[in-house]
């Protein structure tokens, strides 16, 4: 398979993740859609690393996985904190930080 197929697939997955972030209201599902977008970026990184025949892109993808894990841990901690305070789990109602 040509590399461009992988890159176009990664663009499509990124767009699907963007739909989720624009449309869904539950913070948990928005975190899941962020994962989708990060994974689409990972696929592009690994595809480009195959294209140039260099393994450094794969190391980059591994670092992106670490970042994603950190983001998930902090995001889920926030969700648990929101739930403990009995606030609604809906990003449209959590608007105190809006300017």
């Amino acid at each position: 398979m040509n590399i461009e197929w992988y890159i176009v697939l990664s663009a499509l997955l990124f767009a699907i993740g963007a739909v989720g972030i624009l449309v869904r209201r539950s913070p948990m599902v928005i975190l899941l859609c962020l994962e989708l977008m990060l994974n689409a970026g990972n696929l592009a990184l690994v595809a480009f690393s195959r294209e140039v025949g260099n393994q450094q892109g794969q190391v980059f993808a591994l670092v992106v996985m670490v970042i994603a894990a950190c983001e998930v841990v902090v995001g889920l901690g926030l969700i648990v904190a929101i739930f403990r305070r009995k606030l609604p789990l809906n990003v449209d109602d959590l608007r105190e930080l809006r300017g």
């Binding site: 461009e4 539950s26 948990m28 899941l32 696929l43 591994l62 950190c70 739930f83």
Partner: protein, 179 residues
């Protein structure tokens, strides 16, 4: 054969992604994401990156998704309002994302990267296997490797501080205190 595996894995990845977005129950969204991650791991294997594929399955589909399932079980799914706060938000979101996809694809396919239309160069055996990636991580990229471990530690401490039970003496409205 390779094309068949590619299209099967691509259909799995796209189907899983659509499932994440479309499922109303967050628990099913998590399961769809697990299917998506396994398909992506197959794609990584096709791109001769065995270690990234293994890390994807073990770390993502294994550890991170279990964390998600625990939080979904604790918080409980559902309760998401069906009505849009902005009129036609669903349609507008899909429209904007379609434009994003078309623009990204046009930018990629019209780029001057000549090797995109090829399969990539022939790589030696052992390309992307754990030994090669480990050597890169511990020699050339030692500093980013250590920095990411410190970042993981900070994230773990931050999650504990965020999710800890409030002490009795704290006022109800205060921000969560130091650990």
């Amino acid at each position: 054969m390779e094309a068949v595996i590619f299209f099967l894995a691509a259909i799995g990845a796209i189907g899983g992604a659509i499932g994440v977005v479309a499922m109303q129950n967050p628990f099913y969204s998590v399961l769809a994401l697990v299917a998506h991650l396994f398909s992506l791991a197959a794609l990584f294997l096709l791109l001769t990156s065995a270690f990234v594929a293994a890390a994807q399955v073990v770390v993502y589909a294994g550890a991170v998704m279990v964390l998600y399932v625990f939080v979904v079980a604790y918080v409980g799914g559902g309760g998401e309002p069906v009505a849009d706060p902005i009129h036609g938000q669903r349609f507008l979101g899909i429209l904007v994302a379609s434009i994003l996809f078309v623009e990204l694809s046009a930018a990629i396919l019209s780029s001057a990267l000549l090797a995109l239309g090829t399969h990539g160069p022939d790589v030696p055996a052992g390309f992307g296997d754990p030994a090669a990636i480990g050597r890169l991580l511990l020699e050339k990229f030692l500093l980013p490797f250590e920095a990411s471990s410190i970042l993981l530690l900070i994230a773990a401490v931050g999650a504990i501080v965020l999710a800890q039970r409030k002490r009795e003496s704290e006022p109800q409205e205060g921000v969560s205190g130091p650990a």
